[in-house]
């Protein structure tokens, strides 16, 4: 669905609430809490196929140039700036995105590439792949949810999606229980606790 800037802003609270749910309830670790929300909005606006193609181009260009930039004696901020320029140039040159509002995806894509590369240098390829994969999967899940919820909410006054998003943020923000991923991480402990209670 092609969205007007007004509609994009109206859906933002919903995307943010979904991103928060994925972080606080499911426990997915992503590049920033809201990068998946921004990527999902982009996908909802420009089409999932175009955004997936842009991700491939941006990721390819970014990962090709990141190790070179890493060796240059320049500040981290300059490296990020160069990365944004390279990602933007690659996306423009290949023509994979042809929308009115491509500035946001450019910056988000560059940050995803930069953070993933940074994770790669610190924690290794496996951790970086997991982080990038989780971010994209989260963005995909939010995008799918937006395609279901979005059309319904966009028929209402903009206050409605804002109120729904705000309410969801407050409810999810108050969740104090174990995250779904922690049920797996601490499964042995939980099993032992249950056994102790039972005995």
């Amino acid at each position: 669905m092609q969205l007007t800037p007004h509609q994009l802003l109206a859906l933002l609270p919903i995307a943010i609430a979904l991103a928060l749910t994925l972080r606080l309830v499911v426990g997915l670790r992503t590049v920033g809490v809201f990068a998946p929300a921004l990527l999902a909005l982009t996908a909802a606006d420009l089409g999932a196929r175009d955004v997936a193609a842009a991700l491939l181009v941006a990721g390819g260009a970014g990962f090709a140039v990141a190790p070179v930039l890493d060796r240059l004696p320049i500040a981290r901020q300059a490296r990020l700036g160069t990365l944004v320029i390279v990602v933007a140039a690659a996306v423009v040159a290949t023509g994979v995105l042809d929308g009115d509002a491509v500035g946001l995806p450019m910056v988000v894509l560059a940050i995803v590439v930069e953070r993933t590369w940074s994770d790669h240098t610190v924690a290794g390829a496996r951790a970086a792949t997991r982080l990038c994969g989780t971010t994209l999967a989260s963005a995909g899940a939010i995008a799918v949810a937006l395609t279901w919820i979005g059309p319904v909410l966009l028929t209402e006054h903009w206050v409605v999606p804002s109120a729904v998003g705000l309410g969801a943020c407050l409810v999810v923000g108050g969740y104090r229980g174990l995250r779904v991923t922690e049920l797996v991480r601490f499964r042995r402990l939980l099993r032992a606790e249950r056994a102790a209670v039972a005995s």
Partner: protein, 257 residues
């Protein structure tokens, strides 16, 4: 305890200014030293362009460790276990000062002497084991020692193949050990039995950990300490958001006092 519940405790018991203070190793060291808590000595702290211009790596001893004051998870730590080229040291300091390893606009490069593990804890050359004690409102709750291995390339990070061993708070002995999430009875590199092994200076380690709370202003904290062969127990770092993997290592859930 999960991250959500932990974050509530942190929000309640850890003052924001105290959290900001312990994120900076230079400030933390100052706070701990003021409270009489032993820390690793500082050879030099390189700050800003002027500091870099004045930094002369040739004046350092043959072995040392350089780390960013405000990085986390061991990012940007350069261990010079043998003499390194002056240019390598200078370049690393430049990157730290530029905030490369801390995602900040600038940072301080902290240079400390290379600590040697107490021989009862690990033979020299296998890396430096570090102790983690979780303390809440002055009560030590759980403790573990992270032992580096050849597989972890001398680092104590558990996800990289280091051994996580639970330490009984009262006796100071290792009660169970795990590597890659699986139980191990002996150190995979030198065959030492791990379960039952006493941690040297344990009472002093717990005492230091408990004193770190009032010294930093944190109510809930994770204290990282080492037992140096020559200097004894030293506090390396104080964490305002200690990780929860210690529960898996110890086989016990964190229950707050």
């Amino acid at each position: 305890m999960g991250i959500n519940a932990r974050n509530v405790v942190i929000g309640r018991d850890n003052d924001r200014s105290a959290i900001a203070a312990v994120r900076d190793k230079v400030v933390t060291k100052h706070l701990l030293q003021t409270a009489g808590i032993p820390v690793a000595p500082t050879l030099t702290a390189v700050e800003g362009r002027l500091g870099l211009a004045r930094f002369d790596p040739s004046l350092l001893p043959p072995t040392w460790v350089m780390k960013p004051a405000r990085s986390s998870q061991g990012r940007g730590v350069l261990v010079a276990a043998r003499p390194v080229a002056i240019e390598v040291a200078r370049r690393h300091a430049e990157r730290i000062v530029a905030g490369e390893h801390s995602d900040l606009d600038e940072d301080v490069a902290l240079v400390e002497p290379l600590l040697r593990p107490h021989p009862d804890l690990a033979p020299d050359g296998l890396g430096l084991p570090d102790l983690r004690v979780i303390v809440h409102r002055g009560v030590p709750l759980l403790a573990m020692v992270r032992l580096p291995t050849v597989a972890s390339r001398g680092r104590s990070n558990l996800h990289q193949g280091g051994i996580g061993a639970a330490v009984d708070l009262t006796s100071g002995r290792i009660t169970r050990a795990r590597q890659h999430g699986r139980p191990v009875e002996h150190h995979p590199d030198d065959g030492r039995p791990l379960v039952g092994m006493p941690v040297p200076h344990w009472d002093a380690v717990v005492d230091l950990a408990v004193r770190c709370g009032p010294a930093t202003g944190l109510g809930y904290l994770g204290v990282d300490a080492v037992v140096d062969a020559r200097r004894g127990p030293l506090v390396l770092e104080v964490n305002s958001h200690p990780g929860l993997e210690i529960q898996n290592v110890c086989g016990r859930a964190l229950v707050l006092s």
